[in-house]
Amino acid sequence: MTHLGYLLVGWGTTLAVGGLYAAALLRRGRRLSARVPVERRRWMTADES
């Protein structure tokens, strides 16, 4: 395969950055929801758990 180094850097960075951002969103959401009263988490209903 030609240009393998460029492809690895381009694809690798994209997947790594996307994955890290997704993990950061999930972590931030967990931390915040623990601090907000249950009745104020409007979209989270028991049947969606």
């Binding site: 381009g10 694809w11 950055v17 959401g29």
Partner: protein
């Protein structure tokens, strides 16, 4: 009500699972099935991450522009929150577009960057404007004023998007960038199919990320409101005579 300590829901879990599955399929198609290009050889495989990132940059910033306009017109908190969520995800995609474009440019144009290239420079300006949007939001101060200032930046940034998008047509002699990969009809069938798969996967990830980011922003707003309510109650309690305190 059951206590749920996360921003997930059935919808986001389905989207997340589809993204992971889609990425596996995209990787397989993009690296092993799609043919190499006559001119670019295997460097063409960068198209499957670069073009979806670019297209969902537009989708994200258009969402921000619409949300910003709705805030300015109707003072809708829901739209303002959506605008902010889409802006952050859009900055991520725009950064990836610039990065993967530079990496792709080296083997195809023999350079990572060209300051004279209209598409590259206008995309960078758009990226910096949206970083400005996020910076305005993080400055603090009264929520209404912050949202209004950010919304003005969000709407202004939308104005540059047609220039970014059409730059390869309007200044075709002043850009290294090729014309639209999707519409110029030069792609092999399998390359085009894989690109469409990439667009679907990026679209699913975009909405997954926007949903989570929206809920985080909503929680932040609720938390500020809860803290304010608590502070007001404490102030009221301090002001009451000893005998009347509950």
């Amino acid at each position: 009500m059951q206590e749920i300590n996360h921003t997930g829901s059935r919808t986001t879990r389905l989207l997340g699972a589809a993204v992971i599955l889609g990425l596996v399929v995209l990787f397989f198609l993009g690296w092993f099935v799609a043919p190499e290009d006559d001119e670019q050889q295997d460097a063409v495989r960068m198209i499957f991450v670069h073009v979806p990132s670019a297209i969902f940059t537009y989708v994200a910033f258009m969402t921000t522009a619409i949300g910003s306009a709705m805030w300015l017109l109707r003072r809708s908190v829901w739209w303002d929150t959506l605008a902010a969520a889409a802006a952050e995800v859009g900055v991520l995609f725009c950064g990836l577009t610039l990065f993967t474009g530079a990496i792709w440019g080296r083997p195809t144009w023999n350079t990572y960057w060209d300051w004279g290239d209209v598409r590259l420079v206008t995309t960078l300006i758009l990226f910096l404007m949206m970083i400005g949007y996020l910076s305005v939001r993080s400055l603090g101060g009264p929520e209404t004023a912050t949202a209004t200032r950010a919304a003005i930046v969000g709407v202004l940034a939308a104005g540059i998007m047609p220039i970014v998008n059409r730059s390869v047509e309007w200044w075709e002699n002043n850009t290294l960038h090729q014309k639209s990969s999707l519409t110029d009809g030069n792609l092999e069938d399998m390359t085009l199919f894989t690109l469409v798969v990439g667009l679907v996967v990026w679209g699913l990830f975009f909405w997954w990320a926007v949903l989570h980011r929206f809920r985080i922003a909503w929680l932040e707003r609720e938390l500020r409101s809860t803290d304010l309510d608590r502070a007001l109650e404490e102030r009221r309690a301090e002001g009451e005579p000893e005998g009347e305190k509950v």
